[in-house]
């Protein structure tokens, strides 16, 4: 059982100690990591994914339930409590989608005849263009690849800790993904540039120059702002759907204060 994970500070790009003592995330908590490009956001979630023990470039340590994890937990994917969705939009393996998922299920010690088709079905909920089980993973588009990797992380990775790297760039149905993952007692870490995602999480880490600069807790006002932004986001989504469907965008449609639905 994972009750919490703890990040112990390392150093930033200039070798200076990071600006926090230790940071613990409890099961069910969400956190976002924000900061300019190159500020070390991906490096931080990679540290969590690798369960760093001072052996990555940042020198951070990651604890599980207040203890350093055993080697088996670090190096054996069947025991790894973490699924990470990276920004990769490409798979290099010369395998069909079905074969790829089958080997990954074996690597993760997941059995059950249906898990492969369920994963493909879930990926197809997230993506516009459908993926077939016979498609080679090398031929999937960027959005399809990310949808597949997200579905894989949810059903085959099936981990209590989920790390998501800039999910908003995937060109897929963001809200579906977040709803799918949220509220299941998991620890979820978002690397993001999206204000809606950043304001929706309970904690927020601000990164700069490779190190954590600030740790913030969500407050009432921000939660309110997040809900407003979510509404704007929903309306932009409607315009996007119209654009994708080849419709003409009218002034009414573009008016974010007006009420409109996609039909």
């Amino acid at each position: 059982m994972i009750h919490n994970i703890t990040i112990l500070p390392g150093t930033n790009k200039t070798g200076k100690a990071e600006n926090f003592d230790s940071l613990t995330l409890q099961a069910g908590e969400t956190i976002s990591i924000v900061g300019p490009t190159g500020s070390g956001k991906t490096a931080l979630i990679t540290d969590i994914e690798l369960l760093a023990q001072g052996d990555t470039s940042t020198k951070r340590y990651i604890l599980i339930n207040d203890k350093a994890p055993d080697d088996e937990v670090r190096y054996d994917p069947t025991q790894k409590p973490i699924a990470m969705i990276t920004q990769n939009t490409k798979c290099f393996a010369d395998l069909s989608t079905k074969e790829f998922l089958k080997i990954h299920a074996r690597a993760r010690g997941i059995s059950g005849a249906d898990v492969i088709s369920q994963t493909i079905d879930l990926a197809n909920v997230f993506t516009g263009e459908k993926i077939s089980s016979a498609s080679k993973v090398t031929t999937l588009s960027g959005g399809q690849t990310r949808s597949l990797l997200i579905a894989d992380a949810i059903l085959i990775g099936a981990s209590p800790i989920i790390l998501l790297d800039e999910i908003e760039n995937a060109g897929i149905f963001k809200k579906d993904v977040i709803d799918m993952i949220n509220g299941k007692g998991k620890i979820i870490v978002f690397v993001t540039h999206d204000p809606v995602i950043a304001l929706s999480t309970q904690k927020r880490l601000i990164l700069e120059n490779g190190g954590v600069k600030k740790v913030l807790e969500q407050n009432e006002g921000e939660l309110h702002a997040a809900n407003e932004l979510l509404e704007i986001d929903r309306r932009i989504g409607i315009i996007r759907d119209h654009l994708r469907a080849g419709n003409i965008i009218t002034r009414d449609l573009a008016n974010l204060h007006a009420i409109s639905t996609f039909h």
């Binding site: 990679t46 994914e49 990555t56 994917p77 969705i85 990769n88 290099f92 790829f100 992380a153």
Partner: protein, 236 residues
Amino acid sequence: MKLVIVAGPPAEGKTSVIKRIVSNLKSEMKIAFLKIDVVKAYEDDELKKEFGIITKKIYSGDLCPDHAGVMVMGDAIKWAEDNNTDLFIVESAGLCLRCAPYLNHGLGIVVLSSISGIHAPEKMGAIVSLADVAVVTKIDLISQAEREVFIQKIKDLHPHITLMETNALQGTLLKRLYDLIRQSPEIVNDDLVLKGNPPLGTCTICVGKKEIGWQHHFGVVKKLDGQIADYLYRGE
């Protein structure tokens, strides 16, 4: 003296892994480095310049680089020992994949890039199966799922190999490798043999006959189809 032999195809990250090893162990042991290559190599100059260790290189030219390695290894070990070396690192050329340069002593490390293709580990034969450690590099370039698929593929083929993943440019997760090197026993000089069998190399192609087709050759020959036993060795 401890011995580490690093093998693997070109451009997989062998030199980057070696640089991390040298950078992390040079304060506790004296390190010497030998690069075996065919026509051109810069690794010895790079390592000498960057870390100030003693280095050497050998070009195999027309000879198979792994054969060349076998030829020169005795002299090379003596050279390293004459220089009071604690850790001798040999980097192979890693061109053809028919044999492996590892010896019965020391640590054999194969370096494989995670983007080299899912079927690469099974095509490599002895260079993977006879290694003590497989280091999978460039893990920052692929997704977690694909990394785990790649690792599973190697595990299926070689259940007992020690597997580690790294971004060798940063040296991520290589502490385990440094510890394995620290713990590896000293080599015993008069007991050194190749772990695997090198392929036969006595054919007329080896000595420079360039005609295409087995009809033109003597020695070890092979037809595309049919009974190879009849023609495996053809005398004049």
